[in-house]
């Protein structure tokens, strides 16, 4: 009898838990717009500022280190390595922070605006979690062993981040108004040209 009551109790608890999880969440209207703008901004920062291959190749280019080694001045080598380490750490921390923003966006809003299957959602969640974890590992490696210690990991972080950007782009695609790009210029602030 006690066992039966226990199972019934567990079933009721499970039912309420599933009901709470499946219930559509309503975010405040003003919050949604803000999160969309933030997600869009993170996406642009990643795609245009942090992940371009040219920039990554420059930051982690070993030829600079070879050139410094040819200078035969230990203080220059120390300065170079400390500078490049600071830049590498800045890069990985910013990638992590922008990916975190995208993950928050996906977790809270994107599922209500796009038809993503449970399987895709789970895969995305795993990708986000994996990337954030690898970013932490890379940060530790940069801190302990310098910017040139894990070139393959840098590449894999960049590739994984690009894949997540592509997935997020689909979720934010409805924000792309056709024809807006034709009006978008690189104007300086206050300039008459659009």
């Amino acid at each position: 009898m006690i066992a039966l009551l226990f199972y019934i109790g567990a079933a009721v608890c499970l039912f309420f838990l599933m009901f709470a999880l499946a219930r559509p969440q309503r975010a405040p209207v003003e919050g949604i717009a803000h999160q969309f703008v933030e997600a869009r901004s993170s996406l642009q920062t990643l795609q245009q500022g942090l992940l371009p291959a040219d920039l990554l190749n420059r930051i982690f280019d070993r030829r600079d280190l070879d050139y410094i080694d040819g200078q035969a001045a230990p203080e220059i080598r120390r300065l170079f390595l400390s500078q490049r380490k600071a830049i590498s750490l800045m890069w990985v921390r910013r990638v992590r922070s922008e990916i975190l923003n995208l993950m928050h966006f996906h977790r809270s809003h994107s599922r209500f605006h796009t038809s993503i299957s449970i399987l895709t959602e789970m895969r995305l969640a795993l990708d986000f979690a994996g990337l954030l974890f690898v970013c932490r590992i890379l940060e530790t490696i940069f801190s302990l062993r310098g910017p040139y210690a894990a070139p393959r990991l840098v590449q894999s972080v960049a590739s994984a981040a690009s894949r997540l950007c592509a997935a997020s782009e689909k979720s934010l695609a409805f924000l792309n108004v056709p024809g807006v790009n034709a009006f978008r210029g690189d104007s300086t602030p206050g300039n008459a040209a659009v």
């Binding site: 920062t45 245009q48 500022g49 942090l50 040219d54 920039l55 420059r58 930051i59 280019d61 030829r63 600079d64 050139y67 410094i68 200078q71 001045a73 203080e75 220059i76 300065l79 170079f80 500078q83 490049r84 600071a86 830049i87 800045m90 890069w91 910013r94 009006f183 210029g185 690189d186 104007s187 300086t188 602030p189 206050g190 300039n191 008459a192 040209a193 659009v194």
Partner: protein, 151 residues
């Protein structure tokens, strides 16, 4: 004036600038500093009297801004070795191959105000960091003669 006319004028102004003024400045570092000096720090707008007369204030501003971004991109993609060479050539071109140049650049870091608006902070910091190292190498070389080339 419509949108495409404005854009065409800005493109023409940038081309004009590249052919005339910037052709005299072979180094990306020189161009960056020159173009940054045409920008009003209070408004962020670029001014060039000759270009504005030929095109319009807006087109001249847009053309200068585009060239400024180009120069920054060039500097961003330059290797450290190339940056040291440019720094040396720049100091030579303004007649400042001395420790005063190094002291002033180290203390004032004038390159920090030469970054185009909208540049990602990582790209800006990367260029500053490279310039800092290049300046140290340049300083080192000022006091140590270059080794003789091998036969």
């Amino acid at each position: 004036m419509n949108l495409s006319s404005n854009q065409n004028d800005a493109i023409a102004a940038a081309d004009d600038l590249r052919r005339r003024t910037l052709a005299q400045l072979p180094l990306a570092l020189e161009r960056l500093i020159y173009l940054a000096s045409t920008r009003d720090y209070n408004t962020g707008l670029y001014h060039h009297q000759g270009l504005a007369q030929r095109y319009s204030d807006a087109a001249a501003c847009e053309g200068l801004a585009n060239c400024h971004r180009e120069s920054f991109q060039e500097l961003l993609s330059a290797s450290l070795e190339e940056l040291v060479r440019q720094l040396h050539a720049y100091a030579g071109s303004i007649g400042a191959l001395s420790s005063n140049f190094v002291t002033a650049w180290k203390a004032l870091e004038p390159y920090r105000v030469a970054v185009p608006v909208g540049t990602d902070p990582l790209a800006a910091e990367f260029v500053f960091s490279n310039l800092k190292v290049a300046l140290t190498i340049f300083e080192h070389r000022l006091f140590q003669p270059l080794p003789a080339p091998r036969a």
